[in-house]
């Protein structure tokens, strides 16, 4: 029998404290769980609200909206095909340029860069991602656009004009500028993920390849790239998602054109840029609903892309953890 527990006053204090602790634990647990539930509800709420707002257009045009070409505000006939085309063309071309560049930057930062400047360059590349899209758009339309329109496009047209991509005259805005601006936005995202993947390749594997007489590049091709293949593809998918969803910078530089064409020098439009350009000035409710229908398509694409990439990344890291 212990002296402390025998006094009734001390026991009362202790039980009161225990009660307080139990209440505190429960309160904190409940509060934090509610906040997490709110995040789930937010994602669900966004999806629900977008489809709710798009409902007039969905019920009027149905799935045919996706394959209908043309955006006629006078006769209220709307279709998304032009914009899906513009979105696909700009994002895939941007990714086509960004993929090798990002992988190269990732390799430079993980394998080549001298230790002293490694962190500096990595930080600078990531700062590129911190530049707001509206500033990049401003730069794109007032600096990059005129430069490309005056110097790059005429050259491409003169030398490679037989390729449909380069077969029209040069302009200061258009699909090519949008592709370049999107590339600048995608590269820092992809390259920082790639760098992390490459850095985490086990040193024994790399050293094994080098010990067998491989050059650095052969080591990269034979060990680093195969080892990180899944992760790199997830990084590229994430970059694609970013390019598909970018609205402001693209609206500023793409020039609000229409039609389905391959020419990079002509103007175009994407799902996101159409919404940004027209949502406030929409003339009718059905036009407004059609614009939200575009947002719904964008939402579905971005959900698929993001979930796919995240699942790949997670499976990849689990697999690696289990293997080591």
């Amino acid at each position: 029998m212990n002296a402390v527990t025998s006094t009734p006053a001390a026991a009362a204090v202790r039980s009161r404290r225990r009660l307080g602790d139990r209440f505190g634990d429960l309160a904190l647990h409940g509060l934090t769980a509610a906040a997490t539930l709110a995040a789930f509800a937010l994602l669900g709420g966004i999806a629900w609200k977008i489809f709710d707002l798009a409902h007039p257009a969905i019920s009027r045009f149905g799935l045919g909206f996706v394959t209908h070409q043309g955006w006629d505000a006078i006769h209220n006939k709307f279709g998304a095909l032009d914009l899906i085309w513009g979105t696909a063309l700009t994002s895939f071309l941007a990714l086509l340029i960004a993929a090798p560049v990002s992988i190269a930057i990732g390799l430079y930062l993980s394998e080549l860069a001298p230790r002293g400047i490694r962190l500096v360059i990595a930080t600078l590349v990531e700062l590129l991602a911190a530049i707001p899209s509206v500033v990049l758009g401003l730069w794109g339309i007032l600096v990059l656009g005129p430069f490309v329109g005056k110097h790059v496009e005429p050259w491409l047209h003169a030398h490679l004009g037989f390729i449909p991509l380069f077969d029209s005259s040069a302009e200061n805005s258009g699909i090519l500028i949008a592709v370049l601006v999107l590339t600048i936005m995608v590269v820092p995202i992809c390259s920082s993920i790639c760098r992390e993947l490459f850095t985490n390749v086990p040193t024994e594997l790399e050293e094994g390849a080098l010990a067998l007489g491989a050059t650095r590049w052969e080591m990269v091709r034979g060990v680093v790239l195969p080892y990180t293949r899944t992760g790199v593809s997830a990084a590229l998918i994430l970059g694609l998602g970013r390019a598909v969803g970018e609205a402001i910078a693209v609206t500023m530089v793409i020039g609000a054109g229409y039609g389905i064409h391959w020419s990079l020098f002509r103007t175009g439009d994407t799902l996101a840029s159409k919404i940004a350009a027209q949502y406030q000035g929409a003339a009718s409710n059905i036009q407004l609903a059609s614009l939200v229908y575009l947002a719904a398509i964008l939402l579905v694409i971005s959900l698929l892309v993001n979930i796919a990439a995240q699942v790949i990344v997670r499976r990849f890291s689990h697999q690696r953890l289990a293997g080591s």
Binding site: G45, A104, L127, L298
Partner: protein
């Protein structure tokens, strides 16, 4: 004789030479790629600084836009608007984000924690224009624009950033610290509020600064939700306000070169803030992490 000498020569075979050349070429390409990314960053910053610096003046920061036909004027309304929008958004996103992070790292079962992280990452990946349309449909239709509605939109952008960065910092807090507190008889909630959170405070703050830097530059969520032309300086979150990114967007569409000059100056103000904020936060985060991991 000659054949033997060939076999033991120390000069490189043609194949080795080619392998070395390919290796050198690839190293060159990788270096070039990294340099070109840095060059693009320098180019963008240099053009903004060069074109923006000329329009900066005392009036630029203290006056509102000149009425049509007049020259001069400033952007005080946009500066104050951005301040109100981002401050209020931080006040909304920070507490909720930290609570989510505490749940994920301290209470949730692994499977639920994974699902929560996935939801946050997907939320982070949503195109910001969709958040603009969502908030417009939810709050603005029928009742008009207001600053707090814009803040709500920005808070949706910030929430996953704050929650994920906080959760990562909480995961760095050594388990021995938690166990020590629990072994002394402290309850769960006292351990979290008294030991885990104070230890990770620095990391949470730097994560928040990065989220603020991101939110300050967002245009798409604000485009329909707050005003594109409000020309008065107001601190009242119930009024529609202009913001720096939306003003840049509006000015860039103008045919008037004077408007372009103001857009460049605004861009200079914006990226100066963002670059300084993210650089300091990154440096602080590196220092903080190395201290925790020691």
């Amino acid at each position: 004789m000659a054949a033997d000498a060939g076999r033991y020569t120390l000069t490189l075979s043609r194949r080795t030479k080619r392998r070395k050349a390919v290796n050198l070429l690839m190293q060159g390409i990788a270096t070039l790629a990294a340099l070109s990314a840095v060059a693009v960053l320098a180019l963008v910053i240099a053009s903004v600084a060069e074109r923006g610096a000329g329009a900066l003046s005392w009036d630029f920061f203290t006056k509102t836009a000149a009425t049509f036909g007049e020259s001069g004027g400033g952007v005080a309304n946009a500066l104050v608007g951005s301040l109100v929008l981002v401050a209020l958004a931080t006040a909304m996103a920070l507490p909720v984000g930290v609570l989510i992070a505490i749940y994920v790292s301290e209470f949730a079962k692994p499977r639920i924690a994974d699902a929560s992280k996935l939801v946050l990452d997907v939320l982070n990946g949503l195109p910001s224009i969709i958040i603009g349309v969502f908030v417009y449909g939810l709050l603005v239709v029928g009742s008009g624009q207001a600053a707090w509605k814009g803040s709500f939109a920005l808070a949706i952008i910030m929430l996953p950033l704050v929650a994920r960065s906080t959760q990562e910092v909480l995961a760095l807090v050594p388990a021995t610290l938690r166990e020590g507190a629990l072994a002394l008889g402290a309850s769960r909630w006292r351990t979290v509020l008294g030991v885990v959170l104070p230890t990770s405070l620095g990391g949470i703050l730097t994560g928040t600064v990065l989220a603020v830097a991101r939110a300050a530059g967002e245009t798409a969520p604000l485009l329909f939700v707050t005003s594109i032309a409000a020309n008065t300086v107001t601190w009242d979150p119930r009024q529609p306000v202009l913001s720096i990114p939306v003003d840049i967007f509006a000015l860039s569409e103008s045919p008037d070169p004077a408007d372009h000059a103001r857009a460049w100056a605004l861009a200079l103000v914006l990226i100066s803030f963002i670059l300084v904020a993210s650089l300091t936060a990154r440096a602080a985060l590196v220092r903080y992490r190395s201290r925790l991991e020691r």
